[in-house]
Assembly symmetry: C2
Homo-oligomer: 161 residues x 2
């Protein structure tokens, strides 16, 4: 019952672009490096974000991505659901007509309420709020941090299983 990697990457990408500011063109490579996203994977993710109207993609030399909205007008829910489709904690909720038991049994209702609650929580969060917290990305480019020998949150990267 977890968010997919693609959705997590999408959030990071939009955070990065929000930091850059609306309509500031940023290359895919820069985003991939700074937000620690596989570059090719980011290409695919960006296509979904573009289709949803969240970002704009500029092709060609000196191309890249840019945020097409004001960060204050982009919610966490929009980004998440762009990547994974409408949230629906269980199958029953996703297709009530296909529910083996009943389209409106007591369990169904619990999941429906929980889903609505979760979606509301995510809808209440916009990207201007998210970038207000400085801890999500290093303020300096990664390379710079390393030459300065500073401790960066990204250094925990190799601790994974």
């Amino acid at each position: 019952m977890r968010l997919t990697r693609a959705a997590e990457y999408a959030i990071r990408c939009v955070i990065y672009l929000s930091r850059q500011g609306q309509s500031v063109l940023t290359s895919r490579q820069e985003i991939a490096e700074q937000a620690d996203i596989p570059a090719h994977f980011l290409a695919k993710i960006a296509q979904d974000l573009a289709k949803a109207g969240l970002i704009e993609i500029r092709q060609g030399a000196r191309g890249g991505f840019l945020l097409s909205k004001n960060p204050a007008d982009v919610t966490l829910l929009e980004v998440v659901e762009t990547m994974i489709g409408e949230i629906s904690l269980n199958d029953c909720v996703a297709r009530p007509s296909g529910c083996k038991i009943s389209p409106c049994c007591s369990v169904h209702r619990v999941w429906l309420d929980a889903r609505d609650q979760l979606r509301d929580s995510l809808r209440r969060v916009s990207f201007d709020q998210l970038i207000a917290d400085a801890s999500c990305f290093p303020s300096y480019p990664k390379a710079l941090l390393e030459t300065e020998g500073l401790e960066t949150p990204l250094s925990a990267r190799n601790d994974l299983q």
Copy 2:
């Protein structure tokens, strides 16, 4: 971001046993047939439920399962987390130490709150509440319904994909 089939089956199983009443022994076969759960799969699910102390398993001839608690004392959260482990909507929340970005960035906090909210919702629902609603299972055994030619919610079973 969906509940697994195993967890859905577990919920149905516990609902069925709750209907039977605490400490009423019911054969695996009966539960499997009535709640529409693959019998062998139910065996595996029951082992998890038993390890968690939710049900008791009786081996041997005339064996089966029985609910070891009062339905009022079993929450939906318990059953769900027995099957899928502690809920944690995203990786970041599951292992903050392994988070690439930071153990307490703004996104992390949103997911943490959403998770707590979801767990609270599921914790508030007990199985005596769930069985109060008659629509979750047919009141009659499936076979009986068919011979009587009545419409049963289970008849929608073949409408899937």
